[in-house]
């Protein structure tokens, strides 16, 4: 499903923020990605989301090596990937409903098929009353839920979420994690980046630990209680 081989990444001419990253995610797996702030989690997810290219190494998604793909093949691939961005990236002038419907619309679905489905999903994430609200009028947690709904609306094969529950209370956070789990059960490969060690412990999925641009895989009980006290 996802394979990184000796991947390095830098922004422009800056230093490498990811170094020698190699890992393999099986289809249908569910991984957490954690590490201290600035470790490069979001950067790694950008490679997964096909928004940036690695500066070295090979990234393979859906059995295709990314740098070998034609530009015209990328949109189709991106449609198989759902992404929840750390900063949401909603379109401010569109309603919650339209934001969530966007991936379907871009993929060419008919309006009649779109809106019923979208309204149900928004209802499910607890935004039944805010379907017509524009993102600037929503709270942080509400925006985050719109972003999550947009990421999952077209049943992606790969779901990437960057701090998806950081802006909401624990209860709503759990509810959405269960949504991810449900999607995982029907075959979606999930990668969730989070600082929330409690959450990781609670779900017990495998953990990728990123520090200073280097990746290690760790068992649950090997995680530090706090990132700052991590000797590694």
């Amino acid at each position: 499903m996802v394979r990184f081989e000796n991947v390095g990444m830098r922004y422009g001419l800056g230093p490498e923020v990811l170094r020698d990253i190699s890992f393999h995610l099986r289809p249908g797996s569910f991984h957490f990605l954690t590490g201290p702030t600035g470790a490069g989690k979001s950067s790694l997810l950008k490679l997964l989301a096909l928004s940036h290219r690695p500066s070295r190494g090979l990234v393979t998604l859906f059995n295709k090596e990314v740098s070998s793909l034609d530009r015209e093949d990328l949109p189709a691939m991106r449609r198989k990937i759902g992404v929840v961005y750390q900063d949401f990236r909603l379109l401010d002038h569109l309603s919650a409903l339209e934001n969530v419907a966007l991936p379907l619309k871009i993929a060419g679905a008919k309006n009649s098929q779109i809106y019923q489905h979208v309204a149900e999903l928004l209802e499910w994430v607890g935004l039944g009353r805010q379907v017509d609200a524009k993102p600037p009028t929503l709270s942080g947690g509400e925006k985050q839920r719109v972003a999550i709904a947009r990421a999952v609306i077209n049943r992606p094969q790969l779901l990437i979420a960057d701090e998806p529950t950081g802006s909401m209370d624990a209860e709503m956070g759990l509810r959405l994690m269960y949504l991810f789990q449900e999607l995982n059960k029907i075959g979606t490969t999930v990668v969730v980046a989070t600082h929330d060690l409690e959450l990781i412990k609670r779900f017990g999925n495998p953990v990728m630990y990123l520090k200073d641009g280097m990746l290690t895989t760790r068992a649950q009980d090997d995680l530090p209680a706090q990132f700052s006290k991590d000797p590694a």
Partner: protein
């Protein structure tokens, strides 16, 4: 047409204040372009009119000579001309008529009797006949001393040359207008791309094809161009009508009536569509080029 002028659904370009000036600029450009087109076609019609009347219609001038029998000379010349194949008609112009022709220049009550006024013969060439005017002129001068075929050729050549230069100038102006329009559109699109870069990025990342994004820009900008072009064209047409009316009302006008002809009308009506298409093409090029810089 709906697709062509459709709204830019996600980009909401219509809410941009920065591109609202575009129709005004396009209107000005189209106004100028329409005037040049009008001038171009009116001129080319006028040139072909002149050449036609002037080549079908010649004058023979018999110099004033107090010692000679002018009437006999006129009769001889008319006889010779009428016998020439290709000449449809040769008609002496009476003294009164000549005076009338000169009236605008000399005034009504001038004492003309004593003036050395040449005798004129109007010669009408048959249609579709090839006549060697230079040879005819020679023959005429030989037979009737003092007679000269005025073939208007040098004057006509100069007029045609002048007309052609003005036509080149108009074409140059059109080209310039086209270039300026393209440049203005490029700047407007670049501004739009920068202002909407975040939305474009999001659309791009959730799997929108370049074409999907480019179309929203194309539709919006070609609509702006078209809507700007209409008032520009209408004002230009009004101005041309007024100009034509003023020309027509000049008394004893030297200018023939101006007309852009059917081709001119078609060219004018095509102008807004052409500018919309030009805008569409330019916008597409610019947007696709900028999108190609993204992964």
């Amino acid at each position: 047409m709906i697709q062509f002028f459709g709204k830019s659904a996600e980009l909401q370009l219509e809410k941009d204040a920065s591109t609202r000036y575009l129709p005004v600029v396009i209107a000005a450009m189209i106004f100028l372009a329409a005037l040049s087109i009008g001038g171009l076609f009116a001129l080319s019609n006028a040139i072909s009119d002149w050449s036609e009347t002037l080549t079908d219609n010649l004058t023979v001038e018999i110099a004033f000579d107090p010692a000679a029998d002018l009437d006999k000379k006129v009769t001889d010349a008319v006889a010779l001309l009428s016998a020439t194949p290709g000449v449809a008609n040769a008609r002496p112009i009476e003294q009164d008529e000549t005076l009338q022709l000169l009236e605008p220049f000399l005034g009504k009550n001038a004492a003309l009797g004593g003036l050395p006024i040449p005798r004129l013969i109007e010669v009408i060439i048959a249609e579709d006949s090839a006549i060697d005017l230079a040879a005819l002129n020679e023959k005429l001068t030989e037979a009737v001393p003092g007679a000269r075929l005025d073939i208007h050729r040098p004057w006509l050549d100069k007029m045609v040359l002048l007309g052609r230069s003005i036509q080149f100038l108009a074409a140059g102006i059109m080209l310039l207008i086209g270039c300026v329009t393209v440049i203005i559109v490029i700047f407007a699109v670049r501004t739009g791309l920068i202002m909407h870069s975040e939305v474009i990025q999001v659309l791009h990342l959730i799997g929108a094809r370049d074409n999907y994004i480019a179309e929203q820009f194309q539709n919006y900008f070609s609509r702006l161009s078209f809507l700007g072009a209409l008032p520009g064209l209408i004002v230009a047409i009004i101005v041309m009508f007024i100009f034509n009316f003023l020309v027509g009302s000049l008394e004893a006008s030297m200018l023939p009536p101006l007309s852009v002809g059917i081709e001119g009308v078609i060219a004018l009506l095509l102008l807004p569509i052409l500018v919309a298409l030009l805008t569409r093409y330019t916008v597409r090029r610019v947007v696709l080029k900028s999108l190609r810089r993204m992964m």
